[in-house]
Amino acid sequence: MQDPLYREIILEHWNNPQNFGEIKDADFVVDDNNPSCGDLIHLTGKIRDGKLINIKFTGEGCAISRASASVFTEKIKGMEISDIKKITPDEVLEELGLQLTPARMKCALLVYQTIKATKPFRE
């Protein structure tokens, strides 16, 4: 029986995350953590002409936070910065398609909140 939370797609991203790693000559480098669990995220990215042309992440995290980072970085890679600014938390959760408890919502939104707090994605 397939687990309602740890569906194949989540486990796939957990095992083989997209954009996992580090960009050497990055335009922005950001580290953040989830104080409730101690999980860490490290993001590096490249920007050209108002576009996020590349983004990578590393860090320690649960399957939900890692899958979310994989899905989200895949979504925003190549997007205009002005469009990335407009993304809402609900869209991130919708993309994952998971029913999450408040505690796990923090895991799913860690990557999103880290990006949103970083220049030039800050409002």
Binding site: D3, L5, Y6, L11, W14, S36, C37, G38, D39, L40, E60, G61, C62, A63, I64, R66, R104, C107
Partner: protein
């Protein structure tokens, strides 16, 4: 020991619940719940300085618990018992009310790498304020305290602030040996023990420890939350400053000045959690009626059973001693490469309540080179069947994550 779950209404509400988060907080017995309920129905009044009968009765009940606590930990007098809000507040009271007043720049406070944040941060703050030095005693490979690894001037060590039992590893630290070691090496050291994780499970004797301070919480030992205790030797308490000033803790107040009340009232400003203290008294009654020695013996049996089971499951790493000697039933573990939160999430599907994360011990996590663990912790009502359920749940975790 007979199965005690029937004394705890939560297990009637949720018959399937496998509660293994006792290091975080314990469940409450029917007797404790009734004591709080009865207090509100029959005795509720503010304590101290009430002339009417109801207030006097409430005061007597409250003060009676102070005596009970003193007796429970073998203190000399109930005057050595201060009711605080938590273990954290108790330790802050020592840091601010005693250490800040009597320690000076260059003095050393010895902690350990297995301390809870509540016994680290107050000392870091004091270090930043007055320039004391902190030394963290390291761990051995089998998760014991390597207390002979202290390097430095023993004569500068003014305080040993140690946990009796690790909330992550389950290790029971040999407090008497450690204290003797420091005193033999010429340090006139004072000793503060964090006994929050030990007092629910083990007989505590502050005289045997020869400690100067001991801090613990009601909610981990069957009592209500919001009540902590600081034990401190009378002569030390008399020299200490209060953490909070204001109501109740005064001798005489004029526009110009104030004199403080005697101990322990001096440290109990504001209306305390009266019903919580009453509940703590009933919790102590329950523990004493069950017998601390009996509880210790029973939990050791379940701990041994759990350690055997853990050893038999593949792909599990246990962070803590592998034998039941000097160890309580706290089991921190990792299942393969699965993150602690994911393990806890799967276990929750089977109504198994465990904690996951850093357990307010990030220094320890860093020393172990991990970001967190999943932790199962037992108490007197847990059974071998609970351990079986946990092991079965862990197999499900392995299955889901193909470990």
């Amino acid at each position: 020991m007979k199965n005690l779950k029937k004394d705890f209404p939560i297990f009637k509400t949720y018959p399937e619940l496998v509660y293994l988060d006792n290091s975080a907080t314990s469940q409450k017995s029917q007797s404790v719940i009734e004591a709080v309920d009865t207090f509100y129905k029959n005795y509720n009044a503010n304590i101290h300085r009430g002339i009417y009968d109801l207030s006097q009765t409430a005061t007597d009940m409250f003060e009676n618990v102070r005596k009970k606590v003193a007796h429970f930990i073998n203190a000399d007098s109930e005057k050595e018992i201060v009711f605080t809000a938590s273990t954290t507040e108790s330790i802050n009271l020592v840091a601010t009310g005693w250490a800040k007043k009597f320690l000076k720049k260059g003095d050393v406070v010895v902690l350990s790498e297995m301390e809870h944040h509540s016994n680290i941060i107050p000392w870091q703050r004091l270090r930043d304020e007055i320039g004391i030095t902190l030394f963290f005693l390291p761990l051995t490979d089998d998760y014991r305290l390597d207390y002979q690894k202290f390097s430095g001037d023993f004569s500068k060590v003014k305080l040993l602030a140690l946990t009796h039992v690790s909330n992550v590893l389950g290790t029971i630290n040999p407090i008497e040996e450690i204290v003797a070691y420091f005193r033999e090496n010429g340090s006139g050291v004072k000793v503060l023990l964090d006994i929050a994780q030990s007092i629910p499970h083990l007989s505590i004797d502050v005289k045997k420890f020869t400690c100067d301070f001991a801090a613990f919480s009601s909610h981990k030992m069957l009592g209500p939350s919001g009540v902590g205790v600081l034990y401190a030797k009378k002569e030390i308490l008399e020299q200490m400053d209060p953490l909070l000033v204001g109501s109740h803790m005064i001798g005489r107040v004029t526009k110009e000045k104030v004199t403080y009340a005697d101990i322990p009232e001096r440290f109990e400003s504001g209306t305390r959690n009266i019903e919580g203290v009453i509940g703590l008294g009933t919790a102590i009654d329950y523990l004493q009626q069950t017998g601390m020695k009996e509880i210790e013996k029973y939990e050791k049996e379940v701990t041994e059973y759990a350690l055997e089971k853990f050893a038999s499951v593949g792909k599990i790493k246990l962070f803590g001693p592998k034998i039941s000697h000097n160890r309580i039933g706290v089991f921190s573990f990792a299942v393969g490469t699965v993150h602690a939160h994911d393990t806890a999430e799967i276990l929750n599907r089977f109504h198994i309540a465990v904690r996951s994360g850093h357990h307010c011990a990030q220094v320890l996590m860093e020393c172990l080179g991990i970001s967190g663990t999943t932790r199962a912790s037992i108490y007197l009502y847990n059974t071998k069947e609970d351990i079986d359920a946990l092991i079965k749940g862990i197999e499900e975790v392995k299955d889901t994550f193909k470990q």
